[in-house]
Symmetry: C2
Subunit: 405 residues, 2 copies
C-alpha cells in the first residue's frame, strides 16, 4: 500500500474532516484586532492529547486544560489573545473554568450537547491581569455561530491567536493512500517556543480526521514535541502558557499505524517550528545549531541549547561575525562531556575551528545570508541533535522593551 | 584593639607595601593603546592564591597559571589585553610559558632572581588567535624597567588590561590598627563577570602587604569569589580566561586574623564587583536581583541567576517597564522549590505581586532611574541571596555585534 503525502500551508485546523473553527474580535485586545478563536470537533471521535509548559508557574488555562486532558477527550478548544490569565490566583482559575462553561453552554444551545470538561482553554498575552470576562463570555456565545469548515474557519482562528506574530501559521499534511482512502493532519501555531524557549506563549492546536486513541495521540505528540518545539529556543525564556493540543475526529474512518501517525505529527510540528522560528521577534537570521559526536543525544541537546542561548554568540551572528571563539566559550560552560583539544566547528559548511584551534580562513567565512548553520563536533561519541534559534538583534530589544507582553 | 578601615578608589595593586606595577603599550593591540601590565611582589613573602574560570574550555594562560599556583607562591603577574590566547592549542600554551620565562629572565637581569614557575600569566581579548610573541617578549623586557610603586604603577597597570572597559577599576582598603600598625589590601579589575557571567574576560589582581599563608589567602579568596564575582551575571556567558589572583608580600609585618583577612578580601571584591557592574557593556540600568525565602542559599542563587539571565526580564528593565509577570515566568523555570501561590515580588520596594497575583498599582511603579532592586520572596524557606546584573540594551547588542571580542 503506497501512501503519498502533501504538505500545504494555506490550510490549518480545519483541513481535517470533522473540524470547524472561527476567529473573531471579542474586544479583549484594546486594538480591536481578532482575539478569540474556537476549534470544534464534530466527531464521531473525540480523542485528544496535550503537552504543556514545564514552567512551575502555570497559567490558569494551563491548569484547567491539564485537568480536562486527563479524560483523553476534547470537543472544543477556546483560545484568546490579549491576556495570558497567568498569575491571577484563584479568581483567574475561575475565569478559565467559566470560559469553558460558557463554550459548553453555547455549543449545547447550538445543538451539540457539550460539557465544560470537554473544553480546553488557551490564553496568551500579558501576564498578571484578569481577563475582561464580560467580553470573553459575550464573545464565546457569538463565536459559536461563526464556526466554519474549509479554508476560512481555520485561517480566522489562526489570525485570532496572534500577538507579536506578523503572519498566521498553518499547515496541513494530506495522506492519499493508494486504495483511495485519505486522511489529514493539520494545525495552527502562534508565538515562538515551548518547554524551554519562547518569547511569548506558544500555542499550537493540531487536528486530524484519523481514527486514533488518546494513548496513540499522546505518544505521537510527546515524541514530536521533544524533537521539535523542545528544540526551538529563541531566547531561553519559557512561557507560563505554552500548550500543544492534538484532537482526532475519526471522520476519515482510517486508522493509521502508530508509526504513520508519529511521522505525520512530527512532520506537521517540524513545519510549524520552522514557521515559528522564521517569525520570531526581531529575527534577522535563522540559525540551526547542530552538535555531533556527543556521548548521548541528551548531551547533544544540552550543548546545542547552551550555544543557542548564548547572548555573545547571538549578537555575533546578528553582526554576521564568524566569531567561533564565542561558540567554544559557550559550549565550554555546558555540563557535558568534552575534550577541548578535539572540538571542531563549522559555519555554513566552512571549518572555522579544528581540534580546538582556529582553522585557516576562519575569520573570512561569509555569514551575511539569512540562514546560518553552526555545526559543533565534540568528537567524544556518536550522538547528535539540533536546536533552532535566531540572532539577538536591535529589533528583539526594541520589541521586548517597548511592548508589555 | 580597634581597627579602622578606609576604602579608596584612586589606588589599586600598588597600594599595599611591597608591590610595584607598570602598564605599557607593547603593540599587541592594533590601536596602540596600553596592552601589557606587570604586577611585581618585592616580598619578603610570596604567598598567593587564585581562582579561575569554570569553563571547560580554558585559555592557555589559565592552564599555565593554575599550574603555577599549585606552589602557593607568586613573584609576578604578567597580563595582556589585545588577545585571549584561548583555543590556540599546544603552540598557545608554549606562548604562555615563553611569556612567563621572558618575565622571569627580565626580572632576573634586573636583579631579582625569578623563575618562570613564579610568574602567573593572564590574557584577554579575541579568542582563537595566537599572540604576536615578538611584541609580547619585547614588551616583557621593557616593562620591567617601568615598574613603579605609589599611584602611578597601579593605575598604569589597571589601564593596560582594559578592553571594552571605559574606566580603569581599582580599589584599596586601608586598615589602621590602634597600635599604629597598618595593612592594606588593594586590587584592580577589568571585564565584567566570573565563573558563570561575563561579557569578556574578567581579570582581577589583588595585593596585600599582610602576612598570610597561601592557605589563608586561598580560603579568603574562594569565599569572597563565591559571594561576589560568582554572583555578578551580566549575560550568562563565561569566559575562557577569567582569573582572580591574590598576592601577599608580608611587607607590613602584620598577620591579620583569618576573619579580618576574609572580611578585607570580601569588601575589596564587592567593591570591584560594583565597578564591573557599573561599566558592563551597554549597561543603562544597574540591577540587583534578591531572592528571599528560599529553602537554601544555593537555591536562592539559582533562582536569582535565572531571573538575572532572562532576556525578557532584562529588555523590560531596559524599557523601565515594571513587567513583573516576566519575573515570575523566569523564576518558574529555575530548578528550585517554589509554590506559585506564595511568591511575592517587589520593584524598588514597591510590591508588584503578592502571593502569586498582581498587587494594586503594580503597572505604575517607576523604574526610570538607573538602579533597580528586584526582590522575589519565595516564602518556602529562610535562605536568601543576591545576584547583580544589568539590563539588555541596544548598546549591548551594538557593542557585541560590531566588536569581535
Amino acid at each position: 500500500m503506497t501512501t503519498e503525502t502533501k504538505l500545504v500551508r494555506t490550510q490549518g485546523v480545519t483541513a481535517a474532516a470533522g473540524f470547524r473553527a472561527a476567529g473573531i474580535a471579542a474586544g479583549i485586545k484594546a486594538s480591536g484586532a481578532p482575539d478569540l478563536a474556537l476549534v470544534f470537533n464534530e466527531g464521531p471521535d473525540y480523542a485528544a492529547a496535550g503537552v504543556f509548559t514545564s514552567n512551575q508557574i502555570k497559567a490558569a488555562p494551563v491548569l484547567w486544560s491539564q485537568q480536562v486532558l486527563t479524560t483523553g477527550r476534547l470537543r472544543a478548544v477556546i483560545l484568546n489573545s490579549g491576556g495570558a490569565n497567568a498569575c491571577t490566583g484563584a479568581p483567574g482559575f475561575q475565569d478559565a473554568h467559566a470560559t469553558a462553561e460558557g463554550v459548553a453552554a453555547a455549543l449545547s444551545d447550538w445543538g451539540t450537547e457539550t460539557g465544560a470538561i470537554e473544553v480546553a482553554v488557551c490564553s496568551t498575552g500579558l501576564i498578571g491581569d484578569r481577563l475582561p470576562m464580560d467580553k470573553v463570555l459575550a464573545g464565546v456565545t457569538e463565536i459559536v455561530h461563526e464556526l466554519a469548515g474549509g479554508l476560512t474557519g481555520g485561517e480566522d482562528a489562526a489570525r485570532a491567536i496572534m500577538t507579536t506574530d506578523t503572519v498566521p501559521k498553518q499547515v496541513a499534511l494530506h495522506h492519499s493512500v493508494a486504495s483511495g482512502e485519505n486522511w489529514v493532519l493539520g494545525g495552527m501555531a502562534k508565538g515562538a517556543g515551548m518547554m524551554a524557549p519562547s518569547l511569548a506563549t506558544m500555542l499550537v492546536v493540531l487536528t486530524t480526521d484519523a481514527v486514533a486513541s488518546a494513548d496513540a495521540l499522546n505518544s505521537a505528540l510527546r515524541r514530536a514535541s521533544t524533537l521539535t518545539f523542545d528544540r526551538l529556543d529563541i531566547d531561553g525564556s519559557c512561557s507560563t502558557n505554552d500548550t500543544v493540543l492534538l484532537l482526532a475526529s475519526g471522520a476519515s474512518e482510517i486508522q493509521p499505524s502508530q508509526s504513520d501517525l508519529d511521522d505525520a505529527v512530527l512532520r506537521v510540528c517540524e513545519d510549524l517550528c520552522t514557521q515559528l522560528q522564521a517569525d520570531a521577534e526581531g529575527v534577522t537570521k535563522r540559525v540551526v545549531i547542530t552538535v555531533t559526536g556527543a556521548v548521548s543525544e541528551q548531551e547533544a541537546v544540552v550543548a546545542a541549547r547552551a550555544i543557542a542561548r548564548d547572548s555573545l554568540v547571538k549578537t555575533a551572528l546578528f553582526g554576521s561575525d564568524p566569531n567561533w571563539g564565542r561558540v567554544l566559550a559557550a559550549v565550554g560552560i555546558a555540563p557535558v562531556t568534552l575534550d577541548p583539544q578535539r572540538i571542531s566547528v563549522s559555519f555554513n559548511g566552512s571549518p572555522v575551528c579544528i581540534d580546538g584551534a582556529g582553522a585557516p580562513g576562519a575569520r573570512e567565512v561569509d555569514l551575511s545570508g539569512e540562514d546560518i548553520a553552526v555545526v559543533v563536533d565534540l568528537a567524544v561519541g556518536d550522538a547528535s541533535a539540533s536546536v533552532r534559534t535566531t540572532d539577538l538583534s536591535h529589533a528583539y530589544v526594541e520589541e521586548n522593551s517597548a511592548y508589555s507582553s
